[in-house]
């Protein structure tokens, strides 16, 4: 209890901004082991950050006068970790009342005060793809955020990422595991029903799109007469139209190999893009198909068999798929596991035989590619955003710890400073009251 109180106190301090962590967008990181991801390892490397962007990377750089210098001697510097699938920083996850809830947008319910944002920072995570849940065959529009703890939802929002729509197959949209409590039976109840309702929705979207095309064509050709009305706007179908037009991609929650293939077939039928399959515990059975279609997966490193359709998971999955040409990212799906994605990435070296570099890609450049933000983040390269995590040991070591997390040149988490403040605050607080609050 005491421990919890202590942590609460510390978090309180940081959250209230009583401790001005590093400010400013210029920064100089000195003499670290730079794990650039895309350009190898630079020992004794420096990074110059100007205006939140990486200006220079190399050895023996000279810091400009007056710049804040962070000594990374003996430390490991890597790009900020990207979580390709989570549900943090939201007020609500599922619009579970209906099978097709594509009219909802996670952008409308960003919660910049979710403590999980801070948790993410303590594990070096700088960007997340935070998603609608999997209660519906078609969920809602997801959103990409940077973990700028203490800033507004608008400042966290990443406008240049892909627009993505959540789909879900299998037990969750069937509500197979929900009979006990919330759920009244709801169509669809079977996997064939799930695919059918998605197909039906795309068919509707296609005719809705044509309706608008016809209307806009008349308008363009000045043949519009005043009694012809524009079609009624349908927010449920609009995201699907964007998908048909290639302006939005699917992120599809799936487990079984068969239904995963079924969804690929559907995407070809309607000509939409699949950004990645989520969880996909049977992806190792269909690596050829995934690699051929250039469809990535966003998965757990381990932790399977939590329900029937997850029983065929294997520890080698992420590594095996990556070795066979599938773009793999490791996700947290959780506000807690989000702080140890580097541990999860390391598991793929033991199970899956990935190299250090390959393992690190699973939580950096690969999720960046899946989100369409690889030109901005995901590696340490000149011109990219200075989203950086600094570790005391190699991030894939079991003994590692994230020491500092930086977004666009601004320090959002500094472990040493944070601990120091906690101790100060705790000292100022004594003597401890008996009883205290829970």
């Amino acid at each position: 209890m005491k421990w919890r109180k202590f942590v609460g106190l510390i978090l309180a301090m940081v959250w209230l901004g009583l401790s001005p962590l590093g400010a400013g967008q210029d920064l100089f990181i000195k003499n670290g082991t730079l794990l650039t991801i895309t350009q190898g390892i630079i020992h004794g490397g420096d990074i110059l950050i100007i205006d939140g962007k990486i200006k220079e990377i190399g050895q023996n750089l000279t810091p400009p006068k007056g710049i804040r210098v962070i000594d990374a001697t003996g430390k490991y510097v890597m790009p900020g970790i990207i979580d390709s699938h989570t549900h943090v920083a939201l007020s609500g996850t599922n619009e579970a009342s209906v099978a097709i809830s594509s009219k909802v947008r996670m952008k409308d319910v960003i919660n910049p005060e979710d403590p999980a944002i801070f948790t993410a920072l303590t594990g070096g995570v700088t960007m997340v793809h935070t998603m609608h849940g999997s209660a519906n065959p078609i969920g809602g529009e997801n959103v990409v955020l940077k973990m700028k703890w203490g800033k507004s939802s608008e400042e966290m929002y990443v406008p240049y990422a892909y627009r993505t729509l959540k789909f879900a197959l299998g037990e969750n949209p069937k509500r197979a595991n929900m009979m006990g409590f919330s759920a009244q039976p709801r169509y669809p109840q079977t996997r064939m029903g799930v695919i059918a309702i998605i197909r039906r929705e795309f068919a509707k979207a296609r005719s809705y799109m044509r309706e608008w095309e016809r209307y806009n064509q008349l308008k363009k050709n000045k043949k519009l007469v005043s009694f012809i009305l524009p079609p009624r706007r349908n927010l449920r179908l609009e995201p699907l139209v964007l998908m048909l037009q290639g302006k939005m991609v699917a992120r599809c929650h799936t487990y079984q190999a068969d239904e995963t293939l079924e969804f690929i077939k559907l995407s070809k039928e309607f000509g939409f893009k699949i950004g990645a399959f989520e969880h996909a515990w049977e992806a190792y059975k269909i690596v050829k198909e995934l690699a051929a279609e250039k469809i990535g997966i966003s998965v757990f490193a381990d932790n399977w068999a939590y329900k029937m359709e997850a029983y065929q998971g294997i520890a080698y999955m992420a590594g095996f798929c990556a070795k066979h040409g599938v773009l793999v990212s490791i996700n947290s799906d959780s506000g807690e596991r989000i702080r140890r994605l580097f541990n999860d990435a390391a598991k793929t070296m033991r199970y899956g035989d990935l190299s250090e570099d390959e393992a690190l890609k699973l939580i950096t450049i690969n999720p960046a590619i899946q989100l369409g933000v690889q030109k901005r983040v995901g590696s340490l390269e000149v011109g990219k955003d200075a989203d950086i995590a600094i570790f005391n040991k190699h991030p894939l070591s079991a003994y590692t710890r994230c020491e500092m997390t930086i977004i666009e040149g601004e320090v959002y988490f500094d472990r040493a400073k944070y601990l120091e403040e906690q101790q100060k605050k705790a000292a100022a607080k004594k003597p401890h009251k008996k009883g205290g609050q829970k």
Binding site: N94, S101, K103, V104, S153, L235, G435
Partner: protein, 540 residues
């Protein structure tokens, strides 16, 4: 000659009509003399006189300049302050809260659509049809100096239409100033059906407004080209939305936290609504948004940090500090940024508490004159009644309150209120024969209520200031506010605003108190029960 004769005939005719109008109840004429007048829209008048005739302020000014009419009843108000009656522009007094229609068991039969279609649509809920008069509520409002209230519908996504009341008696029809003031909207969810999430609610708002726009266009086009266009199918919900979406009648978004404020502003801007923002005790956290959007503000003085706010999540200590020091600065912060706003009670259900919280906002930096405006002329403007309410000016409706001590300072007491020119004496809290309290009862108490039917355990928090007590009772049945409490010597009286199985009722406790024990009886609905309370020792 003929012209003059015609003129005379005309006068006679007019005179006939005027005299044959149904005789209105003649309201008394009052001369309030010797008070300091705070007109709000003009400078303070020392030793002033206010003449109230036929429900209106006939004239007001310094004693020397105002003649006291012969027929006037003189109200001696030496040493008293006179203000316009206060307006609470966002409250739920007198509202008979009803649980959503349809029993929960029947709401969702298996394998069918939800039984209650559009359970979120209460656009046809008129507050006026759902009021229940309570004398104690009226007198506690008067006692706080409040003479005009906007009563808002219970929380629902599309919640219903509010009513504005002038608290001039015991019957609603004569009180009503406007039975359709705002359409009220909440960022809440619908139980059992769509929408079950906040994002679903935002989507529902957007789709509904889009549909209303489209429906209006369809109707318009049909009327222009009845031969070419098919008649749009009647939709009761969209019909009721049209005045707000198309004609831009005002809607109010209830904003429980800073993100709600942004959500509201986004919707108001996307659909060009005439949108008000209510609640908004976190407006200070999104001040740039509020400044830019310039929506009218009905700002609550409920200073509890909202659920989910970092100020509510990090332990009791911070939460208390936030409620006591941080959130009370919200009105001052808005004022500093050049924003005008009405101060409203919102979730505070006790008028005395409401005024106390406004006082707290003043202590936290809101200039007292701005606070007074925020309770009078500003809400009058926002409610579009400023031509006849909201200040002391000749010709305006005589909503006047007399107080001992300046309003919004500690110890201020309202002694008399005039509403629509009718006088209501306000019983002074410390009646004659009252004694100074002999004990301080502040703290936590364990309460046992024993009646013939049941024995009930509760905990009670009391805060004593002088001879008055406030607090709450917590039990399995919920949280009940102590709406009034007085201690005279060791004699204790508490009025408890209880809610038993959805039914609002007032319980009165009378008994005796020592430092650690309270005994007495509690009466309710004609019954009574023994109540004892023992002090729970403070662990610190």
């Amino acid at each position: 000659m003929r012209v003059i004769r015609n003129y005379l005939v005309f006068l006679l005719v007019i005179g006939f009509f005027v005299s044959s109008l149904p005789a209105e109840k003649v309201k008394p004429t009052y001369a309030v003399v010797g008070c300091r007048i705070h007109p709000v829209t003009g400078p303070v008048i020392e030793n002033g006189t206010i003449i109230i005739r036929n429900g209106k302020i006939e004239t007001l000014g310094p004693a020397a300049k105002v003649n006291i009419p012969e027929d006037a009843e003189v109200v001696e108000a030496q040493g008293l302050e006179a203000y316009p009656g206060l307006i609470d522009a966002y409250s739920q007094y007198f509202l008979e809260t009803k649980s959503p229609s349809g029993s929960t068991a029947q709401r969702r039969p298996p394998f069918s659509a939800p039984a209650e279609e559009r359970s979120w649509d209460k656009t046809n809920f008129l507050v006026l049809d759902n009021l229940k008069f309570k004398k104690t509520t009226l007198s506690s409002l008067h006692k706080a100096g409040i003479t005009t209230i906007l009563v808002t519908p219970p929380q629902q996504i599309f919640a219903g239409v509010s009513t504005l009341l002038n608290l001039n008696g015991e019957k609603f029809p004569p009180m009503v100033l406007n039975d359709k003031v705002f359409l009220h909207l909440y960022f809440t969810t619908s139980r059992g059906g769509y929408p079950s999430s906040l994002m679903g609610t935002v989507a529902l708002f957007r789709q509904s407004f889009l549909d209303a726009q489209h429906y209006a266009l369809q109707k318009k086009t049909f009327l222009r080209f009845p031969a070419k266009v098919s008649r749009p199918e009647y939709d009761a919900f969209l019909e009721r939305l049209l005045p707000y979406v198309v004609e831009k009648k005002p809607v109010v978004f209830d904003c429980a936290n800073m993100q709600d404020i942004k959500r509201a502003i986004n919707l108001i801007e996307e659909f060009k609504l005439n949108g008000f923002i209510a609640g908004a005790n976190e407006a200070w956290r999104v001040i740039d948004w509020v400044k830019r959007a310039k929506n009218p503000l009905l700002v609550t003085v409920d200073f509890k940090p909202p659920l989910g706010s970092r100020y509510a999540n990090l332990g009791e200590e911070l939460k208390k500090k936030a409620e006591k020091e941080i959130y009370p600065r919200n009105p001052a912060e808005l004022q500093k940024n050049g924003l005008t706003f009405a101060l409203v009670s919102g979730k505070i259900s006790n008028p005395k508490e409401f005024i106390k919280k406004v006082t707290q906002a003043v202590e936290a930096g809101l200039p007292a004159d701005k606070a007074l405006q925020a309770l009078t002329i500003v809400p009058a403007r926002l409610l579009q009644v400023d031509s006849y309410l909201g200040s002391l000016e000749p010709g305006k409706i005589a909503n006047v309150i007399l107080t001992k001590g300046q309003l919004l300072t500690k110890g201020c007491q309202v002694t008399r209120v005039f509403v629509d020119g009718l006088s209501f004496e306000v019983q002074a809290p410390a009646a004659k024969g009252a004694q100074a309290p002999s004990v301080n009862l502040s703290g936590k108490w364990k309460v046992t209520v024993v009646s013939q039917m049941v024995t009930m355990e509760m905990t009670m928090d009391l805060t004593q200031e002088g001879s008055s007590l406030t607090g709450r009772l917590t039990s399995e049945m919920g949280n009940w506010e102590i709406s009034e409490g007085t201690l005279s010597g060791d004699k204790l009286t508490l009025v408890i605003a209880a809610n038993v199985m959805g039914q609002d009722m007032e319980l009165t406790f009378e008994g005796q108190a020592t430092k650690d024990k309270i005994t007495g009886s509690i009466s309710f609905m004609g019954g009574s029960a023994e109540m004892t309370a023992t002090r729970i020792p403070d662990k610190s």
